[in-house]
């Protein structure tokens, strides 16, 4: 098949699934909900993460005096587990289930001049909070594509500043930066429906998944996305393990 035809097939799959999602828009009974679990691993040698020169701000240098800062593009834990991978259901979710917005408020902290966590996943319209633990001024500057409906904003957070509470309108992977500390790069990964982020072992659990057949997508900032088909029985657990090849 030529690339053009592959593209066409993929697009038609999207159409069918979108139509399916509209037609089968029944609300799902919460009692039968299951979950999707698994682990994300890196196959090969973990790439070297460069150290960060924070000499622009003596406060940041001091904060890392005993624990040098380094980039967090690829964070590999014990047994090759990949941290900061976001997993979400990209296809198969009934319309009713994906419109329920979690009430929990994920927190994005500016601590020792790095973002903690480096990747913050959230649902469309879910509230999230940006806080600062630092005694130096940051500006929190997410850069969504304004054409998607998510609008860029830019707010200062001097020492002791109150949290900034916001939400996003559309699913999008949004880079976040601080212009004052140019090494500070993070991500808001906004998805529609249930999601999870891998821990330091690369493990994850997506909760509140109604029974059904799904496509699960894994997103890693450097290695991109992978997908897998998963079936979740009523009250049961589906499994999807992912492996990324080291570059």
């Amino acid at each position: 098949m030529t690339n053009r035809h592959k593209f066409a097939v993929i697009l038609s799959a999207i159409v069918l699934l979108c139509c399916g999602a509209f037609i089968s828009g029944n609300r799902v009974n919460a009692a039968g909900e299951g979950k999707i679990t698994g682990a994300v691993k890196l196959d090969g040698t973990a790439p070297h993460m460069k150290g960060i020169d924070m000499s622009k701000d003596p406060y940041c240098v001091k904060a890392h005096a005993s624990d040098p800062a380094h980039l967090e593009t690829v964070v590999v834990g014990s047994g090759g587990g990949l941290e900061n991978v976001v997993l979400y259901i990209s296809e198969g979710l009934p319309a009713g289930a994906s419109s329920e917005v979690p009430t929990s408020v994920p927190v994005f902290d500016q601590k020792n001049c790095v973002y903690t966590p480096h990747v913050l996943a959230m649902d469309v319209n879910q509230k999230f909070k940006v806080v600062t633990s630092d005694q130096t001024t940051h500006n929190i500057h997410p850069l969504p594509n304004p054409m998607t409906g998510n609008i860029p904003w830019n707010q200062s957070q001097p020492p002791g500043a109150a949290p900034v509470e916001k939400s996003w309108k559309t699913a999008e992977v949004i880079p976040v930066q601080c212009n004052i500390h140019p090494w500070m790069h993070g991500w808001f990964v906004v998805v529609k429906g249930p999601y999870a982020t891998t821990d330091s072992n690369g493990s994850y659990t997506i909760n509140n998944v109604p029974p059904g057949n799904y496509t699960v997508t894994a997103w890693q900032e450097d290695y991109g996305t992978q997908t897998q088909k998963v079936t979740v029985a009523a009250g049961g657990a589906g499994t999807a393990n992912f492996t990324y090849k080291a570059k």
Binding site: A8, M147, N154, S156, A161, I180
Partner: protein, 288 residues
């Protein structure tokens, strides 16, 4: 079988493109934009109509801002700062909070004021009606106005009298929120973070230098300066300080910023008498 599959998939993908237009950085087409040709603007009792601005735009604006309003006109390669991309609906000079659309008056004022240190001149030769029509025309390029309302303008309390105490208090605000990180302790745009600043599209951008006699981009009255740091300049590294500077403190900061500017002012004279020293970047936060 194979051919039939192909035919079906092509048909379905065509439907996909028509029914689910996927949002992307991809440009809007002239016909997308033309659906909004009925866009209006309201400035006091003047109503601007996008369709009436077509010839003025083609004559005066298109060379930089481009046929599609994407800032990709013929002069694009030669001007810096780059012309604004109207399709994105993101504007520096607003009276509204960061992340919101500007009001019609904001755009109306920007056209007349021009943008200092850029290729955008002061279009003071236009009549008010022409400017109002151009505001409607600028808005019709972006789908944002169809889905969103402009933000609510920030409240600016009446300007208090300048006093030595206020100037000193303004210096404390300058130290506390660390304006100097980019603008430098003397306002010379040489703070530690000044050399790496980029705009939202990743292009290098300079912090405002208070000392070389230039006018701030979004106006040079005291109220303009107040508005600049309380709304932020969207699309640039300049954030909004609305959550972290109280309205009264904001006036103090305006007075202190005047002391850094090269232009003569009461504030500058007062600071000289006070023998005010620049903030100390090496002192711990809050004690500069």
């Amino acid at each position: 079988m194979r051919t039939r599959l192909r035919r079906w998939s092509l048909l379905l993908s065509a439907t996909a493109v028509l029914v689910f237009p996927l949002a992307s950085w991809a440009q809007l087409t002239p016909s997308d934009i033309n659906t909004r040709i009925g866009t209006e603007s309201h400035i006091g009792n003047i109503t601007g109509h996008a369709k009436d601005a077509k010839s003025d735009y083609r004559r005066y604006c298109v060379v930089c801002h481009g046929e599609l309003g994407d800032g990709n006109g013929e002069s694009f390669p030669w001007v810096d700062p780059k012309p604004r991309d109207f399709q994105l609906g993101v504007f520096k000079c607003r009276s509204t909070p960061t992340g919101t659309l500007p009001t019609d008056e904001d755009l109306f004022d920007t056209i007349a004021r021009g943008l200092d240190r850029s290729n955008m001149p002061q279009w003071s030769t236009f009549t008010k009606q022409q400017r109002a029509d151009l505001v409607a025309w600028v808005k019709h390029f972006s789908p944002r106005w169809a889905n969103e309302k402009p933000g609510t303008p920030i409240q600016i309390p009446a300007e208090p009298e300048v006093t030595a105490e206020r100037i000193k208090a303004g210096r404390d605000v300058f130290a506390r929120v660390q304006c100097w990180k980019c603008h430098g302790v003397l306002g010379q745009a040489n703070g530690p973070s000044s050399s790496t600043l980029t705009d939202d599209l990743g292009r290098p951008i300079a912090a405002f230098n208070f000392t070389e006699g230039a006018r701030p981009k979004c106006g040079d009255t005291d109220r303009d300066i107040y508005r600049i740091f309380m709304t932020g300049l969207d699309g640039t590294p300049m954030p909004s300080y609305a959550d972290n500077i109280k309205p009264d403190e904001a006036w103090d900061l305006v007075f202190y910023l005047r002391t850094l500017m090269s232009q003569h002012s009461i504030e500058k004279e007062m600071a000289k008498k006070l023998d005010l020293k620049p903030v100390d970047p090496n002192a711990p936060a809050g004690q500069q």
